[in-house]
Symmetry: C2
Subunit: 106 residues, 2 copies
Amino acid sequence: MNPEPFLQLDRTIHEKGRLAIMSLLAAAPTLLFTEIRDTLRMTDGNATAHLRTLLEAGYVAVTKSLEGGRAATSYALTQTGRRAFADYVGLLEQIVAQTRPPLPSR
Amino acid sequence: MNPEPFLQLDRTIHEKGRLAIMSLLAAAPTLLFTEIRDTLRMTDGNATAHLRTLLEAGYVAVTKSLEGGRAATSYALTQTGRRAFADYVGLLEQIVAQTRPPLPSR
C-alpha cells in the first residue's frame, strides 16, 4: 500500500464537520451562515468554531451585510480553499481506489 | 447537498492515522506491529495509541507469539472492523461522488 495519500491528507479539511462545510461551499458561490448551520444540522457554536478554523487557514472568506435591515453573514471558498479542497478530494479518490478492488472494465 | 454521508462518518476510522492502519489491514490477512509502524512511518507511540483505539472499538484483534525466540505482535481486522471499514469507504465514495462533477459517460 502506498502511504502517501494518507500522510498528505490536510487535517484542516479532514475533520468531518469542516469537510462537510468545504463540500457545501464548493457547490455554491456563497452561503449564509444559517444555511450552512441548518443544512449540516450543526449548533451555532460548532458551525462558528469550524468556520473560524477555515477562515484562519485562508480557505474561506466571510462577508457581513445588512439584508432588509437584518445582519447577514455569508461565507465563500477562497481560491486557496478551492485548490486545497480539490487536492484533498483527489487524495480521497486515491484512497478509495486503493481500498476498493477495481471494477472489471467494460 | 446531502449531509448524511458526512454525519455518518465513523470518527474512530476517520482519523487519518487510523484510516491508514485500517486500509493496510484490509489488504492483508495479518500484519506485524513493526510492518504497520514502518509502512506508515509512524512512531512506536503513535502506532501503539491508534492500535489501542482500534482494539477498544473491536475493529482489530492482536496476536502475540514467539517467532524464533523473539516476541512478535501482529494485528488483523475483526469481522466488525471489516464491516465498519466497508461502510466507511462506501461513505467516502458517496462524498467523492457528491463533490466531483461526474465524468462525461463514454
